[in-house]
């Protein structure tokens, strides 16, 4: 250990000598991934040794793994050595100085989403006052959170300030070698959020990381860790929007939720990464591992997600229901259009007695897109009287798109009960004609019909998010009729 320590220190020094810091104008690592890159990354972030060790362990695991190919998606091989693994926020001079310099198409989209002007500027990467920087936004609410004892900060900060909490829980839900993309994330994650809700505390605010990932192009490997201690509650919102770029970008995030006794975490996502253009060019590859561990008895987790973006989505927010009577919920809307591909769903792993889970999945396919639901419901031998309800609905718009459902059920306990319902429907010509005959134009009609289809999921979202999700669907469906 001491030996490694010295080596690391030397390396850090060497890096400094080689002028990363002096060379700060070049704020992006040259493409490529090796142990050196990880050491440099860790050094820049001034991480304690355990973090570097952890990253290296993950990297070594990753090297031994193969990229998964079982998802119902199709994409060219990612060249991991063509990616840059660190990019500091660009200097203000390099960014657009005002909204006038931003792509008007992008602004139009924001306008339709009803995003306030100053936030549009931030989304577009305009170098606005640091007040709009996510860290500062969080500090606006620092006082009520501090009073309640809630910790909410960038994970890079948590590594410094609360190393014992980070060391205890990081990787406890998604181990470094869990899967290919989780291993990669563990090795190179750039930043993300850390939340700790102390015992008995109901978080006084809805915590949100809205927009943050866009601010700079560093957000491809976020790491989020939320710990809800006994008898606590938190609702966390995650919003993602990405600028348009012609090349595909890899986004491999990991989210870990730890739920202790009687605690509850509600995690809502509205994902609108750039999906690529109408010809399938560009867009984000969104390979995300999200998992919650309901460790304590009577704990509860709800995942609610609205996925409209990304060229490819590969995402299965999961619940490990270890505590007795623990509850897992998954409410999902996944919309694909043009050439988008989504393979999404959930895993409900019932281990404790009397655990229950609910899955409501709504898949909407338009254009030439492909949308798959993949769900695993598993009952361990100890899952006495556990139960699951799954409802999986697909809606097709047009006749060139596809929907697939892959439900898997594994049971090692005879007392477990599973209910599964699935439907596939189309937006019918008759429905469209009815709307249009009443004066509602075709695009508005489709968006209304789709919103109706998603109602059960939207009602699980916090209010403002639900409104936004509706608008987002509307924007995402543009050009899907006619």
């Amino acid at each position: 250990m001491a030996n490694t320590d010295r080596q690391v220190n030397e390396l850090i020094k060497r890096e400094y000598e080689h002028g990363f810091v002096t060379d700060i104008e070049a704020d992006t690592f040259e493409p490529g991934l090796n142990e050196d890159v990880i050491r440099r990354l860790s050094a820049i972030k001034n991480e304690p040794e355990f973090m570097l060790e952890w990253r290296l362990k993950a990297y070594r695991r990753w090297l031994e793994m193969d990229e998964p190919d079982w998802a119902h998606v199709d994409f060219p091989k990612v060249d991991y050595n063509a990616i840059s693994y660190y990019s500091a926020p660009k200097k203000k001079e390099d960014m657009p100085q005002s909204l006038d310099e931003v792509d008007p198409e992008l602004l139009k989209t924001y306008e339709k989403l009803g995003i306030p002007l100053h936030e549009r500027a931030k989304l577009a990467g305009v170098a606005v006052d640091a007040v709009f920087d996510s860290v500062s936004v969080a500090t606006t609410f620092k006082e009520p959170l501090e009073k309640a004892g809630v910790i909410f900060c960038p994970i890079s900060e948590a590594v410094q300030k609360y190393p014992e909490l980070v060391q205890k829980y990081l990787g406890s839900v998604v181990p470094v070698g869990d899967n290919y993309f989780a291993a990669l994330n563990s090795a190179v994650f750039s930043d993300g959020s850390f939340v700790y809700i102390p015992k008995g505390v109901r978080c006084p605010l809805e915590l949100s990381t809205y927009f943050r990932i866009n601010a700079a192009n560093t957000g491809q490997f976020e790491r989020t860790l939320i710990v809800a201690d006994d008898d606590s509650y938190v609702s966390y919102l995650e919003g993602c929007t990405a600028p348009m770029r012609d090349e595909n970008q890899l986004h491999a995030a990991v989210v870990e939720l730890v739920v202790l006794e009687n605690a509850q975490i509600k995690y809502s996502t509205v994902q609108n990464w750039y999906p690529g253009d109408e010809n399938g060019k560009g867009g984000i590859y969104n390979f995300v591992t999200k998992r919650a561990a309901c460790i304590g008895n009577n704990s509860k987790v709800s995942w609610t997600q609205v996925e409209t973006g990304s060229a490819i989505t590969w995402k299965y927010p999961s619940c490990v229901l270890r505590g007795d009577n623990s509850v897992g919920e998954f409410y999902s809307v996944a919309l694909t259009h043009n050439y988008q591909q989504a393979d999404t769903g959930t895993k409900m792993i019932h281990l404790g007695k009397n655990t229950s889970s609910t899955i409501i999945s709504k898949g909407i396919s338009a254009g030439r897109s492909s949308n798959a639901y993949r769900g695993l419901v598993k009952f361990g031998p100890g899952a006495e009287a556990a139960r699951n309800f799954t409802q999986c609905d697909s809606l097709l718009i047009g006749d060139r798109c596809a929907a697939h459902t892959f439900p898997y059920i594994e049971s090692q306990n005879k007392t477990a009960i599973v209910e599964h319902e699935a439907t596939t429907s189309k937006v019918s010509d008759e429905q469209m004609f009815l709307c249009r005959q009443r004066g509602i134009d075709a695009e508005q009609a489709v968006s209304m019909i789709v919103n109706g289809f998603c109602k059960e999921v939207f009602k699980e979202l916090p209010m403002e998010f639900a409104v936004e999700a509706g608008k987002l669907l509307e924007v995402s469906l543009e050009g899907s009729v006619g």
């Binding site: 429905q431 709307c435 249009r436 005959q437 004066g439 134009d441 019909i449 919103n451």
Partner: protein, 256 residues
């Protein structure tokens, strides 16, 4: 108001309307009667702009403008309303939301201010009572789980809300019991006004006891073969379609 000249239309390559001529003036109520399969719904759908039906020749003027050139939604906003014979369900979309969107689309088109949710709620509650629908129906999905009669009354409610210039009612009486028929007819009669025209399509004459038409036309084989006043419907009731040499595929009585 509406002037149909030698209208021919086909569906899936089969000609259904074979030269329809019809003049409708503001304030008038016209009834089109005919046996099943004679093309009544086809005529209604063509006027409303359903793209499943192809107009092969002829002309339709609506307030002096070429109706057939206009998109469905534009026709609707300019005052053409079709009460469907078979109203379709839109699950999850509340009736209230659907109707407000429709009313506001029209208001916007006419340069009028849009109605907010509260204003519209008040209006919709009043109108729903007028057709004897519990205001709870406003919260339910469009036609979702409605009985046949409820669907029909919902259609009339929509006409009352949208205040069209020309209301086309396709078999609004079918599937209604006597009480519901009375309620629906009262709704339609409430629509009658000097600047509005109503085109009622029906197989049976019983509706015409409640909504007394100014003109009655008999449609058979895609053509209007006879026109007359109110008495024509009564005569048909008495003598049956056979009287005009028409075979009624259903052999259903004209009276009912």
């Amino acid at each position: 108001m509406l002037s149909i000249k030698n209208l021919h239309a086909s569906v899936e390559g089969k000609e259904i309307l074979k030269g329809i001529n019809l003049e409708i003036n503001p304030g008038e109520v016209h009834a089109i009667m005919g046996p099943n399969g004679s093309g009544k719904s086809t005529l209604s759908q063509v006027l409303a702009g359903n793209e499943a039906y192809e107009v092969t020749s002829g002309e339709v003027l609506f307030n002096g403008e070429n109706l057939l050139d206009k998109e469905t939604e534009e026709r609707a906003r300019e005052g053409i309303f079709l009460a469907f014979q078979y109203p379709v369900e839109i699950p999850g979309v509340s009736n209230l939301q659907f109707l407000r969107t429709a009313v506001n689309a029209k208001r916007k088109h006419l340069g009028e201010p849009e109605m907010n949710a509260a204003e519209f709620m008040k209006l919709a509650r009043e109108v729903s009572k007028q057709v004897d629908l519990n205001p709870d129906f406003l919260k339910r999905g469009v036609n979702e789980g409605f009985s046949g009669g409820e669907k029909k009354r919902n259609e009339i409610m929509q006409a009352l809300l949208l205040q069209p210039k020309l209301a086309i009612l396709d078999e609004t009486d079918s599937g209604l019991d006597i009480d519901a028929l009375k309620v629906a007819s009262d709704g339609v009669n409430a629509l009658r006004s000097a600047d509005r025209a109503i085109l009622m399509v029906t197989h049976y004459q019983r509706l015409l006891n409640h909504i007394v038409p100014d003109h009655v036309h008999v449609l058979a084989g895609g053509r209007i073969i006879k026109s007359g006043g109110r008495e024509l419907a009564l005569e048909l009731e008495e003598k049956g379609y056979g009287w005009l040499g028409i075979k009624d595929e259903d052999d259903a009585p004209v009276a009912g």
